[in-house]
């Protein structure tokens, strides 16, 4: 990846880091990766060679730069992965910088995916050992370089906060002094890692501050939308109003007449307007006259889909999990409790709508975007432009949120970006931007789901449970189908519903995955966005019918789920739980959900509110994510996950009207605002288990916790989200 090297070197030079830097490469399991010594590369790029598994660069100015293989869009990998390296390196945190690694799956693949990408709350989990080893190797090489320079045994050299010392001789020096010498040494095969009791950054309160906070506070952080290059054209695309529609014909005369509009071209996704700047592009698109061919488009409304799903839910689907005989148990029960839950399509609506920059000369391309699946985006751009992957350099940009939106199974953004570049021809750099309307009406939603649940209780316990899930699969028909779908079941549709933390003797979960022409996608916490709600609301309802306390009743069924029970106990203690109430017109609801191997329980204190929907006053949250690498980032993700989950549960829905998405902007797709945000108190359960993710697991419990509280305020059990329907 010479292109990537050049680019990294250029940026290094721009930052004014002088001289030589140390590239550390680690044994990566292949013979090639173990060959040779550490590479030296100069900041002017002249002798630059990028080493395999290069995660650490140390400048002669003592700066430690960590190359981050995961995109930073708020969930914290810049800080998290840097913490892992700096811990083992014994670096001075004030000298640590983070930047996105170039796109190169050989070096920077997600160890959980086999390709470069971020998702499933895997960033810390898959990097924990890898980044620590990178730091430990760099430390060992610096120690060896210092020992050789001082002619002392390496074992007598200590490192503390970026300072190498030899106590006996009183010698000391900083990393930068030894970076050049260290780079010439062999890389240790298996550098020893610290005993966790010796950690001074990992898990330590206040030990690190987020590396990206200053630039995100003074306006200097650079996002894709901020890219400006000479000769760059800004591009917007008019897309069909219904999914599956096509351009029949178009008249661009008026659009072309807008001063600043340069070109109008048909592209596979619609009609692209190219302009010298953003506003003429917007205006030109408004003036386009496009006739759409809707003959193959999806024309059903949400209400129609819901009726069809309801009908499907009345018969069993493909069995996803089963033990005992739920049907027989329900048939012999004194009373069967039944509930149907309806979940709308939801948009991710990250603050920065989708965008991308691409420069292409016919042979090589440079793409810059907030890429969440770099390898797929890179390959897609190459395919559209007729290049090899190696001819496409992809630079990952900071992104203004994602919530799943930037990880597209179809790679449709990369394809559209390359298509608009291709349509106008080489040497015309383009910046493609989506407006908020494009975003909210552009599909790739959290799918609409219907759950039908039936249960029975006996002697204070839940004894039978049957759950039929109906909803689209975003995996079906894609390259992921072969990897994920087993026995006709897409696990992302039933995760959280097919395996409960509760012991229930007779259990079944089955699923229908109807074909609907609405593009859908994972959305922060994926299947748990709806299964968490359906399961935790229905458990609560059954326990109420059984006369059980919501916390004690759950715990009584959780003997085989110790970590889930652990967070439930922890949150009950934090909130000083003494039952759901109500008291003083407020009630409390609880929910506990495991997602992505992290365990989160929440208690919400809720009142009926002032007519504009319920008021959530306070949320207590307990999380067990194994070793807590950055406690404050974990708390931040719980706070944010609670706000994200709550806002959608209360207010958000992308309704379809004869196939056309109804909301267009934040006036009709209501987002949680500051006065609707509850107080949040988080406790992190101490654990020495392997670390797991926190980007998504804060989301699922909040909606059922709120609904369960509302049920205790005399509200009917909430069967359909959002809570405040039709109130905008």
């Amino acid at each position: 990846m010479e292109g990537a090297i050049t680019h990294v070197s250029r940026r290094t030079a721009l930052k004014g880091i002088a001289g030589l830097v140390l590239g550390v490469h680690l044994p990566g399991g292949s013979a090639k990766a173990q060959s040779g010594a550490a590479q030296i590369f100069r900041s002017d790029g002249t002798t630059a060679r990028f080493a395999p598994n290069a995660f650490v660069r140390i400048g002669t100015d003592d700066t430690v730069t960590i190359l981050i293989k995961h995109i930073e869009f708020g969930q914290g990998p810049f800080t998290g992965l840097s913490t892992l390296v700096a811990e083992e390196l014994d670096a001075d945190w004030s000298k640590v910088r983070a930047e996105h690694a170039p796109s190169n799956p050989d070096l920077y693949k997600n160890l959980a995916f086999g390709m470069q990408g971020t998702g499933g709350s895997t960033a810390i989990a898959n990097s924990y050992e890898q980044m620590r080893k990178a730091g430990a190797a760099a430390r060992a090489m610096l120690v060896e370089a210092a020992a050789q320079a001082w002619r002392v045994p390496a074992g007598e050299v200590t490192v503390d906060r970026g300072l190498l010392r030899h106590a006996k001789s009183g010698r000391q020096g900083r990393f930068g002094q030894f970076a050049e010498a260290a780079a010439k040494l062999p890389v240790p095969d298996n550098p020893p890692l610290k005993d966790p009791t010796k950690f001074r950054l990992i898990g330590r309160e206040g030990a690190v501050k987020k590396l990206d906070a200053p630039g995100k506070t003074n306006g200097t952080a650079l996002f894709t939308i901020d890219i400006r290059e000479p000769g760059m054209l800004t591009v917007v695309v008019a897309r069909p109003p219904r999914f599956g529609g096509k351009v029949a014909s178009f008249d661009a005369a008026e659009a072309r007449a807008v001063p600043g509009v340069v070109e109008v071209k048909q592209v596979p996704s619609g009609v692209a307007v190219y302009a010298e700047s953003t506003w003429p592009a917007f205006k030109g698109r408004e003036l386009l006259k496009v006739t759409w061919d809707d003959s193959a488009a999806e024309k059903r409304s949400s209400e129609q889909l819901i009726e069809e799903y309801r009908a499907l839910s009345r018969r069993s689907g493909t069995v996803a999990a089963k033990h005992g005989d739920a049907e027989a148990a329900l048939a012999r029960a004194d009373k069967v409790i039944e509930a149907e839950f309806v979940f709308p399509y939801l948009a991710h609506a990250p603050m920065e709508p989708l965008d991308g920059y691409l420069r292409w000369d016919g042979e090589r391309a440079l793409a810059r975007l907030g890429s969440q699946l770099q390898t797929g985006d890179q390959e897609t751009i190459a395919a559209v432009l007729g290049l090899k992957r190696e001819q496409v350099q992809l630079e990952t940009m900071l992104a203004g949120g994602s919530f799943g939106r930037r990880a597209q199974v179809s790679m449709h953004l990369a394809a559209e970006l390359a298509s608009v570049a291709k349509a106008i021809g080489p040497n015309r750099p383009v910046k493609l931007i989506w407006t908020r309307e494009d975003d909210l009406r552009g599909g790739y939603y959290r799918p609409l789901f219907v759950h039908r649940l039936r249960g029975a209780v006996r002697d204070g316990r839940i004894v039978a449970w049957a759950n039929t899930v109906v909803g689209q699969s975003f995996v079906k028909g894609t390259p992921l189908e072969g990897m994920l779908v087993k026995d006709g079941v897409d696990p992302t549709t039933v995760e959280g519903a097919r395996e409960l933390a509760y012991e229930i003797a007779d259990f079944q979960c089955d699923v229908h995955t109807p074909n609907v022409g609405v593009p859908v996608l994972w959305w922060r916490s994926v299947g748990h966005t709806h299964t968490g709600y359906a399961v935790e609301c229905f458990v609560d309802e059954l326990l109420q019918a059984a006369g059980q306390d919501p916390v004690a009743g759950r715990l009584a069924m959780m003997a085989k789920a110790p970590r889930a029970a652990g967070v439930l106990r922890a949150v009950a203690e934090l909130a000083r739980w003494s039952g759901p109430g109500p008291a003083n017109n407020r009630a409390r609801g609880v929910a506990v959900v495991e997602s992505f191997n992290s365990y989160v329980a929440q208690i919400a204190e809720v009142s009926a509110g002032d007519g504009e929907g319920p008021k959530v006053h306070k949320v207590w949250c307990a999380v067990d994510c194994g070793v807590a690498v950055n406690p404050d980032v974990i708390r931040a993700q719980m706070e944010g996950g609670i706000g994200f989950g709550l806002g959608h549960a209360l207010y958000a829905e992308v309704a379809l009207d004869e196939g056309r998405p109804v909301p267009a902007n934040f006036d009709t797709y209501r987002a949680l605002r500051i006065h609707e945000m509850p107080q949040v108190e988080v406790t992190i359960v101490h654990s020495s288990e392997k670390p797991t993710g926190v980007g998504e697991p804060g989301v699922p419990p909040i909606a059922p916790a709120v609904a369960n509280a509302l049920a205790r305020l005399g509200h009917n059990r909430l069967r359909r989200l959002p809570v405040v329907r039709g109130m905008v």
């Binding site: 506070t217 600043g260 908020r436």
Partner: protein
Amino acid sequence: MTAFQIRVNGHTHAVDVLPDTPLLWVMRDTLGLTGTKFGCGIAMCGACTVFLNGKPLRSCAFPVSELGDGEITTIEGLTGREAAAVQRAWIARDVPQCGYCQSGQVMSAVALLKEVKRPTDSDIDQAMNGNICRCATYVRIRAAIKDAAHALGA
């Protein structure tokens, strides 16, 4: 295209743009001041918040032709003790997640503290509820505003 003289961050700039161009795009595309962000285009999210004569303005829905001799301040030109206190508090609390809305949040918070020395929760709700944060960093925004007010000696 129409020529305008506009005052931004203490400097006069001559720009030649379509007269209905929102101030946001003049700042971002013409002047290169990209700290102010686009989030909705209809003054519903606050990511584009700047000051017009010291008061918050949603620049995405404000045509440049309306500006006249008004003085614009963007995040790049933010100065003064309230600004310093807010930005310090933001970093101390590690407020930002994705960070995209935060220029607008900081602008609104500074405007609040210029008006109200010791804002209550209700003051904060009023001043800040035009600024959406999809990461929901609201808990920390609230705390950081109170920290900044405290640091300013209120």
